[in-house]
Every structure is written in C-alpha cells, then in structure tokens.
Amino acid sequence: MKRSDGRTEPSQLRAFAASQSLLNRADGSAKFSFGESTVIASVVGPAEVKIRDEKMDEATVEVIVRPAVGFPSTKDKLLERALRQTVEPTILAGMMPRTLIQIVVQIVQEDGNMLSTAVNAISLAMLDAGLPMNSLAAAVSAIIDQEGNLLLDPNSKELENASSVHTFAFDNTTSYNLLLSHCIGTYSQEQYLDCLDACKHASERVHSFIRTAVEKRIEKEYQQLQSS
C-alpha cells in the first residue's frame, strides 16, 4: 500500500523532528514536528498568578493556542482545553501552589494532527523548563479512511478522505495510561479500540524519540563541560 506522501505502511509515522531551548526569554521551549506539521511550545512558570485564577493548593495551568494564520477561533479554544486537560495531570501542580504555569502553543505549519503535535511539543518544552512532573505525555493520531483502512499519523490530504479521526495521548509509565482520547467521525467500537491499540504502540516510538532527544542534549552539555 502506498500513501499519498510516499509512505509505504499504514502504521508508518512521518519523520519526527524536535529542537529544545530555542526561545531565549521563556523558561522552557521546544519545537516538534510530524513531517510538515510543526508547532513551537513555550513554558513560563511557576510565575505569579492573577488573584482571579489563583488556586490555594495547586498551580494554575493555562494553555494558549496561536494559529498559524489569523486570529484564534473557537476551534483553537477546543484545542486549548484538550491540551490543558492532557498535560495538567502530568504536572505535579501540588508542589507549586498559587502559581501560574503558562503554556503558549504557536502553530507554525499545519499538515494534519495539530493536537498530537502540540501535545508532544508541550511535553518537550515542560522538560526543558524543569517543571516537576510525574510522567510525560506523548500523542499520536490515526484515521479510518472511507475504505475502512487504519492509517497512522495522517497528513491533511489523507484527512480529507477520513471517515473518522482519532487522537490519543499516553503517559510514559510502564502501563502507558491513556491521558487523552479525542475521536470524531462515524466508527464502531471495534474500530475505536483498534485505533487505541495502534496509537498506543506508536506512542511508544514517540516516547523513545523524546527520550533520545533529551538524552542527546543533556549528554552534549555534559561532555562540553568536561572535555577539559
């Protein structure tokens, strides 16, 4: 089977790319791409919180999504809430009461799967910021196309031909717990569970990519320091 962008396998993901600490003024930042889909995430915090948003026993997490073109719409609001609710459980917010964690997501290039790309970018940015966390989130999307095939990490062309679109995020504990499931279209329970399973396996690849990326950066910093 040949896919529109030259991939040969339905389970093949597009190439990942990531860079960390690319913004100077944020406490943490990262860029993540699935093929052409690219997102920059920045994290500021723990910082001072507005009294209105203050929570006495934990940090307030705020996610702001900036679209690639135009002004934010309600579509971005939906994305903001999904992202916040996905990454919030991974942050040890109880360690930073009465503070604000502000996450800004700037969409750079759109070619499908913005939700999953943004989850991965935020995870990397939070690592860079050094926020205390209990786990890490990684997300993958899949579609069921009109012919009933399950395709992982669809591009925008494939999305046009989708009968349902599924995005799942998992944490990095040994059981890979489900953090987010956002699925829309028409599908059966079996198809849902198939997608869940396929994305779970694929998310392990994203997790190991994030791990390698962070390991490489830290090792590089260390070696430069000790090369004397």
Binding site: G28, G130, Y222
Partner: protein
C-alpha cells in the same frame, strides 16, 4: 565519569537498591536507608524522578539526586540570591528574586539594624541576600546577614556593577572558586562578583570596559570547555 552518564526523564523508576553493595545495605534484611535529593521523590514503594536530568549517586550515606538545569528559580532556604527592591513598606521591602512571588526582606534583617538605625533602600536597589525561609505556600523571606555570626558577610546592597541573567546550572557552577572562567579572567584584571543561586550574577570592576567584558565572558561560558574558555577570554582581552 562521563562514560556512564545516566539521563532520566520524569516518571522513570529509579532502582536504588540493585547493587548488593555492602555499604548501602544494613545488617539483617532491613530496608537500606536511602537519601533523596532534588528531582527525586517517593511514590509508595518506588523512587521516581520528577525532572529530566543526570542521575547522581554518592555512596557514603547512599544519597541519590538529579542534576538538572532550568531557568526559573524556585526558592530554597539557605541559598544566596540577588534581588531587586521593588517596593518599600513600613516593616519590610518587597524584593524580586525571579521566582513565582516577590520575596520579603524585613527592614531589620541587616547587620546591626535597629528601629532607629536601619538602611534605607529605594526601589531599584540591588541586594545580595540569603533566603531565611522558603515554603511553597508562603512568600520567601530574605535576610542580609549571616545568621551564625550576625555579620553582613558580603550580604547587603550591591553598588555599581552590572547584573546578568543566566541559567541556574551556570550559577551553581560559578559558585565553585575553581571555575575556569573566573580564574582566567582573574589572571588579567581584578574584579568583584556576587553569584545568586536565582540565575543572576553581579559583576563589577574598576572600569566599565572590564565590566562589560566580564559580563559577556561569563554569559558565553555556559557551554564552553576549559580550553575554549581560555581562548575566549584571551580574544576578548586582545580586543580591548
């Protein structure tokens, strides 16, 4: 040392008892004592990391901690910081130390300060202070004297000079008097520094040219090896 660098990510389980090391095992089959430092926490029976960093272990005392770098300061008792006075109130000053909340510096927390005789700091003043109290639920409190001696010991207002911002990791390294960058710079001209653990470094010398050079050299030294530091310092000096 560098060969077995162990990088961990949040959520990783840390096996602290795998090596049947005599020193870490108590007699009988008691659970050995483990001391956890920054970045590690206990979740039920397991030791779990909370940050991305390098896992470190010290045999005496069986201490484990994570060495990680970040830019945002989280106040901890006993650390020295550089703050900027942002407001003056009757009982205390509010000082920005780069954390989530501004810190409190009581007007009497200076060497020899009394109700009648106390320093007058205007907003914008730089102070070098020690965190006397830090708690996640409260604003941090500062003091400008060493509690063991009651003397200023260098704490107090910083006059003149220049403050640069850098990562917390670089600050920690600069506190080591053997840090190459400070040693190389010291070979060329005399200068003063105060390193705050909150990612701020104050530098001062007898003339502004040197101060600018100092600031640039320290800022750029974060990812440089000893040899590269030496080369950078020399090229900067040559350009003077």
């Amino acid at each position: 040392m560098t060969s077995d660098l162990k990088v961990v990510l949040p959520g990783d389980l840390i096996s602290v008892n795998n090596e049947s090391d005599e020193s870490s095992m108590n007699v009988d089959d008691d659970v050995p004592l483990v001391r956890l430092g920054p970045g590690l926490t206990q979740v039920q029976e397991d030791i779990v990391s909370m940050k991305a960093g390098v896992l470190k272990h010290q045999d005496p005392g069986n201490k484990w901690w994570l060495e990680s770098n970040q830019r945002r300061y989280v106040a901890a008792t006993g650390e020295s910081v550089i703050g900027i006075v942002v407001a003056r109130l009757a009982e205390y000053y509010r000082v920005d130390i780069g954390g989530a909340q501004a810190a409190i510096l009581p007007v009497l927390a200076f060497e020899g300060a009394t109700k009648k005789n106390k320093p007058n700091l205007v907003p914008g003043t730089l102070v070098y202070a020690r965190i006397s109290l830090a708690n996640k639920d409260m604003e941090p409190e500062l003091q400008c004297f060493n509690p063991s001696s009651g003397k200023a010991d260098g704490y107090g207002e910083l006059k003149g000079g220049f403050v640069i911002r850098c990562s917390l990791g670089l600050c920690r390294r600069l506190l080591n008097p053997e840090t190459p960058i400070l040693r190389f710079l010291g070979e060329h001209f005399p200068f003063e520094t105060a390193v705050g653990m909150n990612g701020r470094i104050w530098v001062n010398s007898e003339n502004p040219q040197y101060t600018i050079l100092l600031a640039n050299a320290v800022k750029n030294s974060e990812y440089l090896s000893e040899a590269q530091c030496k080369a950078m310092v020399e090229s900067l000096i040559d350009k003077l």
